[in-house]
């Protein structure tokens, strides 16, 4: 199983916000044990979904060229239970961004109902990250594949409103060559 906790982006506005959805299915293993007889999607995984959506938005802000990691959940609250058959909608907004990191406000809704709300901090690892981790954690082709799977280039728009294109990111062009 790959660590994908959102299915598809429906909006991706560079430098601003993004909206992504995740269908919660009984065919997902983790629901079988959590809880037995009463499946509930764990809030940790819902948080991961919000964090992945925000992380990709922040990563785009740095041209998808450097590693961006979730550093801190400054505030997270949960309101209800998310069950099999529900569809989660994650909305993430860049609240603050700087050369070394960013803050993102995130929510998760089921329909109109607010389920989770979070303030997430991301750290930009910069050029020294390979040395720090003893190797590259995320290869450009893996990131490109992920972005493609979740429809970023289908719905993404740049700050000027023009569509996002893979050719705007040179490292992906090298992968395509």
């Amino acid at each position: 199983m790959r660590w994908f906790w959102l299915d598809r982006f429906t909006e991706f506005a560079c430098g601003s916000h993004a909206v992504a959805v995740k269908g919660v299915s009984l065919s997902e293993d983790y629901l079988h044990d959590h809880m037995v007889g009463y499946p509930i999607m764990p809030n940790s995984l819902i948080t991961e979904g919000m964090a992945q959506a925000g992380g990709l938005l922040v990563s785009e802000n740095y041209g998808f060229s450097e590693l961006v990691v979730l550093g801190k959940l400054a505030k997270v609250e949960f309101h209800t239970c998310v069950r099999n058959g529900d569809q989660l909608t994650f909305r993430v907004e860049i609240e603050w961004v700087r050369g070394d990191g960013a803050a993102v406000k995130a929510t998760a809704h089921v329909g109109d109902k607010l389920h989770a709300k979070a303030l997430l901090f991301y750290a930009r690892m910069g050029e020294g990250s390979e040395e720090m981790f003893g190797g590259r954690l995320f290869r450009p082709e893996v990131l490109q594949h992920w972005l493609s799977l979740v429809g970023v280039f289908e719905v993404g728009v740049k700050a000027d409103g023009s569509p996002m294109q893979e050719k705007d990111y040179p490292q992906f062009e090298i992968c395509n060559a």
Binding site: G71, K72, E95, R98, G99, G101, F121
Partner: protein, 128 residues
């Protein structure tokens, strides 16, 4: 320009929110890393809250000049040399570096940064 007390109150609020500490733990002499358990990612959170609270812009390396601490012109064998100390004094006029200068081991700088230094930093920014 807010008074010293007003600056302290807002800095304390930022630290309480960012670090999850109690109001009374945030004293002027408390060190951010040693006493309040701030980790490196918390500094982003703190800077975010200070910018909002005081309507200021804090650039990377302004509060904590990591570029000096990772520059081999200024650091040898894990210690900041004389040129590095001069550079730190220039970049951190808001901080009391006396204790650090006595034993300028790189890691000590973060450990010794106090709430008072943070308040001085904000006052320095507001005055600039």
């Amino acid at each position: 320009m807010p008074s010293e007390e007003e600056i302290f109150d807002k800095v304390r609020e930022a630290l309480v929110d960012a670090l999850g500490v109690d109001d009374d733990e945030v004293t002027t002499g408390a060190t951010l890393q040693g006493d309040l358990d701030a980790e490196s990612i918390d500094f982003l959170d703190i800077v975010f809250r200070l910018e909002k609270a005081f309507d200021i812009k804090i650039e990377r390396g302004e509060l904590f000049p990591e570029d000096i601490l990772t520059n081999t012109d200024y650091v040898q064998d894990g210690k900041v040399n004389e040129a590095g100390i001069l550079k730190l004094r220039e970049r951190m006029p808001f901080a009391d570096l006396t204790k650090f200068e006595a034993e300028p081991v790189v890691q000590n700088l973060g450990q010794q940064l106090t709430v008072k230094d943070m308040c001085n930093f904000v006052a320095h920014k507001l005055a600039g």
